[in-house]
Amino acid sequence: MQGKWQEKIWNGMFWLSGIIITLILAVIIIYIIYRGFSSVNFNFIFSAPSRAGKAGGISTTIIGTLYLTAVALLIAVPIGVATAIYLEQYARRSSRLAYLINLTNDTLAGVPSILFGLFGFVFFVIFLNMGWSVLSGGMTLALMILPTITRTAQEAVKSVPDEYLENSLALGAGRWISIKRVILPSALPGIITGIILSMGRAVGETAAVILTAGSSLNMPMSLTDPARSMSVHLYILATEGLSLERAFGTAFLIIIFILIINYLANLSLRSWSRQT
């Protein structure tokens, strides 16, 4: 009988751990949606902040976020996809170079964001004299999302059946044409999944952005203007006690964005796995 009881206790404990984790997540998301919902309206999204964020909306920080994310993706996606194609189609699997590139990608993925921030600050902002700007911030973010993009693109290219390429080569197409016309289109859903996932990372990143893009509340007009992202805005509003209501509104929008990203990533992942 004692064994039976022990089994029950263990079983209960394992279930409890699953329930606790679900509860933690639910409490955080529901609390922020509940408290932030009422601060978000048309004006909050479309008007500029005033008095250091105490009044007005957050339009400039939304634009700043989009701008930074777009620059990061424009730089990281071509590089990441090129890396994936090189590793999977040109380099020999066992070559030293391929090993080195894979290793640095893993290492890059483990570097804390604050170190990316320090590097971006001393390299892009000071050494290359780009100042606190959308470009400095975007390039720093690009380095941060590069491992995710490369790895998902690598998986996507790897999952394209070898016959596709062989058939195309047999029909007389060159290697590069075959890659462009046959491999890339089949790998596209996987590549898109990687892009969606890294958008989430770029939108949420704060420490690296604050050190490289600055925290100006003005509307960023060009690549050389400083900008403040929504996450940096949330940090400043909350820690300087400027406006709790606006901080909740900003957190609400970030959470909604992350939920959408998560949903889209799952959708695209599922369509990808169905296809292959």
């Binding site: 984790i21 804390p112 921030g117 320090l118 949420g204 992350i258």
Partner: protein, 278 residues
């Protein structure tokens, strides 16, 4: 074409080299000037008086990481066992989605939640001003859960089915099998999960800076405020200049070395795992 692709592929290699180079070049001269022992162990951080010692921050980072892992490792490993061994496929998939979401929430949102909910709760229920080691450990523990759960779950799933069926055939119950066969076999994977979680905790910045109070003192209780190395960098970088700025880069160098050591630890754990399996 191959050359252009190779050029793209070498970006990550160049990036890692440049990151290392620039952080070390900016930080090392100050460490040399102050002396490495004094930089690491001196407990006085007063940039205005040119006294640069990161002893309190180093202790802060270590104690915060330790306290957050104390509760998140048991919870995370137990959740991993639940997902891999006990839950039905539907419940397991559901929990997997939840953990994905938990990993996707930006650290600044965790910090905000901690500041608005956990800090006032600690202040009212336990005393102190709420901004504390405990608040940091609660928030940070939640943030490392996805890393710990995902990697330990993969390790548990990778345990050969023969081990399990063999143990069950010998008359052991499912729970005896989990405790005596599956967990020991997945040991190196679970250690990897803990070390990676540790790396995540050591490097985390925004959530920690928002809830720990950031005083440069040695935390003497769970309710005491404290500061980590990462917090110091993000708090002071905006206005630091000269030696002060160099000292923040030197803090980055120490952080960098920490992360490299943890990565080596992971590699050793993975190799040990491969040897065990073979």
């Amino acid at each position: 074409m191959e050359l252009i692709l190779l050029l793209g592929a070498s970006v990550s290699v160049i990036a890692i080299l440049l990151i290392t180079l620039f952080i070390f070049v900016k930080g090392m001269p100050l460490i040399a000037k102050v002396g490495i022992g004094s930089f690491i162990f001196n407990l006085d951080w007063s940039p205005t008086r040119n006294s640069f010692g990161i002893g309190t921050m180093l202790l802060g980072t270590c104690s915060l990481t330790l306290v957050s892992l104390i509760w998140s490792v048991p919870l995370g490993v137990s959740a991993a066992v639940f997902m891999a061994e006990i839950a039905s496929k539907r419940v397991g998939d559901f929990l997997g989605r939840m953990i994905e979401l938990l990993a996707g929430i930006p650290s600044v949102v965790y910090g905000f939640f901690g500041l608005i909910v956990i800090v006032p709760f600690i202040r009212e229920q336990l005393g102190g001003n709420g901004l504390s080691l405990l608040a940091g450990a609660i928030v940070l523990g939640i943030m490392v859960l996805p890393t710990i759960i995902n990697i330990s779950r993969d390790a548990i799933i990778a345990v050969p089915l023969d081990y399990k069926t063999g143990s069950l055939a010998l008359g052991a119950t499912h729970y005896q099998t989990i405790g005596r066969v599956i967990l020991p076999a997945a040991r190196s994977g679970i250690i990897t999960a803990v070390v990676l979680g540790m790396g995540r905790a050591v490097g985390e910045t925004m959530a920690v800076v928002m809830v720990t109070g950031n005083s440069t003192i040695i935390p003497d209780s769970l309710l005491s405020p404290m500061r980590t190395m990462t917090s110091s960098i993000v708090l002071e970088m905006g206005y630091a200049a000269g030696d002060h700025q160099a000292a923040l880069f030197a803090t980055g160098v120490v952080l960098f070395v920490f992360i490299v050591i943890l990565n080596l630890g992971v590699n050793i754990a993975i190799k040990a795992g491969a040897r065990n399996a073979g």
